[in-house]
């Protein structure tokens, strides 16, 4: 019986490995590991707009605004943690600054040669401001256009904004070097990245996503952990039977 179970587990693992699709991640000339996107919105502060709804964050608690019910409690939005360039969280001029704490769950940013973290924004942000705080050090971001390898400007293809879907939306990027935040070359970034968004103009300060351009090795896949723990459990059951 146990042999059959183990065989099933091995088959499951083999099938999972075969089904694993080869993926990459890149936004224009910015390339990074496919698990190196800041996928955790740890906490936030401020009133922000995601193109459809108004959200308010106070630490880890979130509220969403509805014209009928007003502010009600809600779950953490995924706009700033998914892999779509077209979704975003934004600060507007009339709603004040927004502060977001982002982190990586599948990898860690590492200080290697060149810039280590990249932030991507929608629309022209040169008149707005954003700053990144890591380890108590704050740095203002400098925005630049994003181009493909062949020099073609990159845009977001379907951005929801107040009931309309917009294409050809400009993408801007800003990158930082971890050495500027007191992290030595070769060391990893531990702890969240705090990014402050401020809109000084009528253009919303919209953060699309953040990525680690240099990250640690790919961790053991979940299937391997499942397989390992399954084997340990089977061993335990076998010992109890004996």
């Amino acid at each position: 019986m146990y042999k059959k179970t183990i065989l099933k587990a091995v088959l499951f693992l083999a099938t999972s490995a075969l089904a694993t699709q080869l993926n990459a991640a890149s936004i224009g000339t910015y390339t990074f590991e496919d698990n190196a996107i800041a996928d955790q919105l740890v906490s936030a502060q401020g009133q922000m707009y995601d193109g459809t709804d108004w959200l308010y964050a106070n630490g880890e608690s979130w509220s969403i605004y509805d014209n009928v019910d007003g502010w009600t409690s809600t779950s953490t939005p995924t706009d700033a943690t998914d892999v779509s360039v077209s979704s975003f969280l934004s600060a507007t001029q009339s709603s004040g600054s927004v502060s977001l704490d982002l982190d990586f769950s599948q990898t860690s940013a590492i200080n290697a040669a060149g810039d280590d973290l990249a932030f991507f924004f929608l629309w022209d942000q040169t008149a707005n401001s954003a700053s990144v705080s890591i380890n108590g050090t704050t740095q203002q971001l400098t925005f630049s256009d994003v181009f493909s390898d062949t020099g073609v400007q990159q845009v977001a293809t379907s951005v929801n904004w107040n009931g309309t879907v917009n294409s050809n939306v400009k993408i801007m990027a800003a990158s930082v070097e971890l050495s500027d935040f007191g992290i030595s070359l070769g060391d990893t970034l531990n702890g969240p990245i705090m990014i402050d968004l401020t809109s000084n103009t009528s253009t919303a300060m919209a953060l699309s996503l953040a990525a680690a351009l240099n990250s640690t090795a790919v961790p053991v896949p979940a299937a391997a952990w499942l397989f390992g723990t399954g084997l340990i459990a089977l061993a335990g059951i076998a010992r109890r039977k004996v």
Partner: protein, 108 residues
């Protein structure tokens, strides 16, 4: 024995020589005019350029199955991105302004 052998050889050889077909591919007959040996002093002939056979053996193969398709780069997990459309202006600001709702009671 030796004499008989040599005699029979002497008689038979001319018979064979006369029986040879003169224009056979086994002899240098008429067919060999213009043909030069591959080696030796007269072999300095520039061969014609090699011709590549113009045959498509994969005419019925779907392009997706060609070996070249394997070199396709990995799928990009980032979605919602593309090249700018040159026929329309790039959107540098949201299309409409929005009015934020009143802040939550905790903020007021």
């Amino acid at each position: 024995m030796n004499k008989a052998y040599l005699l029979s050889l002497a008689l038979l050889l001319p018979v064979h020589a006369g029986a040879v077909e003169q224009d056979s591919v086994y002899t240098w007959g008429q067919w060999a005019n213009g043909v030069k040996p591959a080696a030796g002093p007269v072999a300095k002939v520039t061969p014609p350029p090699a011709q590549t056979p113009d045959v498509n053996f994969r005419a019925n193969e779907a392009s997706a199955l060609l070996r070249e398709a394997v070199t396709t780069p990995p799928r990009n997990i980032i979605t919602g991105i593309g090249d700018a459309n040159p026929s329309t202006p790039i959107q540098v600001a949201p299309p409409t302004s929005i009015t934020p709702p009143p802040p939550p009671p905790a903020l007021q």
